[in-house]
């Protein structure tokens, strides 16, 4: 991974973070919010190595936990779990297909929401008792399934563009 790639990933992470903390609450209904960090982790699982993805998952999880009333290691655990699940599935199953990707992203979104529901339930929080939490969970999973593959596709194109740029640069130097 070149410095340019690292820089592009940092910009993507910052963009996703700003989108989720500033723009989401203003413009997008809770039901339609896609976890962009989750998409980044899944994309990294598909395109980067396992070790890089685990580092990215840990970083994104910690970043996500900064804004939450939970202290540490909640989202890292979820993202690490997704990364560990996605890498072998990518290699062993046909996750290149957009249909399977949609199902996989939907399942991941549901697992993430489910884990949060369990934590809230363990804390005795009121939100966990509200039926619309389930509604939000279902809608979010559906939205993630529908939009997620397109985001993955865009990230793949970005990766391709970066590799082409690198090859061009190397050929020029040659």
């Amino acid at each position: 991974m070149t410095i340019r790639n690292v820089f592009v990933y940092l910009v993507l992470i910052l963009g996703a973070y700003l989108f989720q903390t500033v723009l989401y609450p203003l413009f997008i209904l809770p039901e339609l919010r896609i976890d962009l960090f989750l998409i980044l982790v899944i994309h990294s699982s598909f395109s980067q190595g396992k070790s890089r993805t685990l580092v990215l998952a840990l970083f994104l999880g910690l970043l996500m936990d900064v804004g939450l009333p939970l202290k540490g290691f909640f989202h890292p655990l979820i993202y690490l779990g997704v990364a560990l699940l996605a890498s072998p599935l990518w290699h062993n199953l046909n996750l290149h297909s957009r249909h399977y990707q949609a199902i996989f992203i939907g399942i991941c979104a549901m697992l993430e929401g489910g884990a949060i529901w369990i934590i809230l339930r363990l804390q005795g929080a009121e939100l966990a008792e509200v039926p619309n939490m389930l509604q939000i969970l279902v809608w979010r999973s559906l939205t993630s399934s529908l939009v997620g593959p397109f985001l993955l596709s865009a990230l793949e194109r970005l990766d391709q563009w970066l590799s082409t740029l690198m090859v061009l640069q190397e050929s020029k130097q040659g």
């Binding site: 700003l18 970043l63 939100l127 939490m133």
Partner: protein, 284 residues
């Protein structure tokens, strides 16, 4: 595959899972300030978040301004009528206020000291969407500490749960983890106002025979030491008394408009020390 290698294969994930679970349970709500890592992230990202939010707010203001011009005349007429009504109400309130002052003086009530308020701007919201937290642009440098109450012009917003040098994390009263000792203003019935997310709260532990009606104002009781007494929390939206059970279900609509939360005020009044912590000699 030998049994030992199979065991080793499962042992690592189980250990990681147990470690993470213990860290979650051990760390929940125990730190006074944000950790170094959290502070670093907040201090780096918050200025960018503020710029983005300002830009979005500016564009939104222009957009709203355009639409406000449409139908301004009819709105003006309605507002004039409303102004007349408010003037009459103001006069009534002024009379009541003066009567109250006289009675207070007569009864030698100690005049309450006005609590200093620190204005702050909302910089960002919870990134996951599952919790109800905000980030404000005032922190340790502005004498903000954990557990300080945060209010808006309409009512109580929440309390500070984490502080960095220039920013603070606020848990809104809408969050499922929030609990405020509350009173129904009219009947002085006590309960715990717990968040339910999405502009709704629940007044818990109100006995079935207690007098609570739709439209009653709910205020903070001052018990617990975090929130000053008398802060407006919201009004009763719905009361359900089931055929069985000890308590009634009281739904409360918060007074503060959380969907348009832009500026808030921190009640700069240090929360009282927790006796348990003093007893154990812990400084946090």
């Amino acid at each position: 595959m030998p049994v030992t290698s199979q065991l080793r294969k499962f042992l690592l994930p189980i250990l990681i899972f147990l470690l993470a679970l213990s860290l979650i349970s051990a760390n929940f709500h125990t730190h006074k300030n944000m950790s170094f890592l959290e502070s670093l992230v907040v201090e780096i990202t918050a200025p960018v978040q503020k710029v983005v939010r300002d830009v979005v707010k500016g564009v939104g203001d222009v957009w709203r301004g355009y639409f406000h011009l449409v139908g301004l005349e009819s709105e003006n007429t309605a507002l004039k009528g409303e102004l007349q009504e408010l003037r009459r109400q103001l006069n009534d309130y002024r009379e009541a206020y003066l009567a109250n002052q006289r009675l207070r003086a007569l009864l030698n009530f100690k005049k309450s000291i006005a609590t200093p308020l620190l204005p702050a701007e909302v910089v960002a919201f919870d990134p996951s969407g599952w919790f109800q937290t905000i980030l404000i642009d005032k922190g340790k440098k502005d004498r903000v500490v954990r557990d300080m109450a945060v209010v808006s012009a309409d009512g109580l917003v929440g309390r500070v749960i984490g502080v960095s040098a220039h920013h603070a994390k606020v848990l809104l009263i809408l969050d499922g983890n929030s609990a405020v000792d509350a009173l129904v203003q009219r009947s002085r019935v006590r309960g715990i106002l717990a968040g339910r997310g999405r502009q709704r709260c629940l007044l818990k532990y109100v006995q079935r025979n207690e007098d609570v009606q739709k439209g009653d104002q709910v205020i903070s009781s001052g018990m617990g030491g975090v929130f000053p007494k008398g802060l407006l929390l919201g009004k009763v939206e719905n009361v359900v008394r089931g055929s069985s059970g000890l308590f009634q279900t009281v739904e409360v609509e918060p007074a503060a408009d959380f969907s348009r939360l832009e500026e808030v005020m921190v009640v700069v009044q240090p929360p009282p020390e927790d006796p348990a912590r003093i007893g154990s000699g812990k400084s946090s």
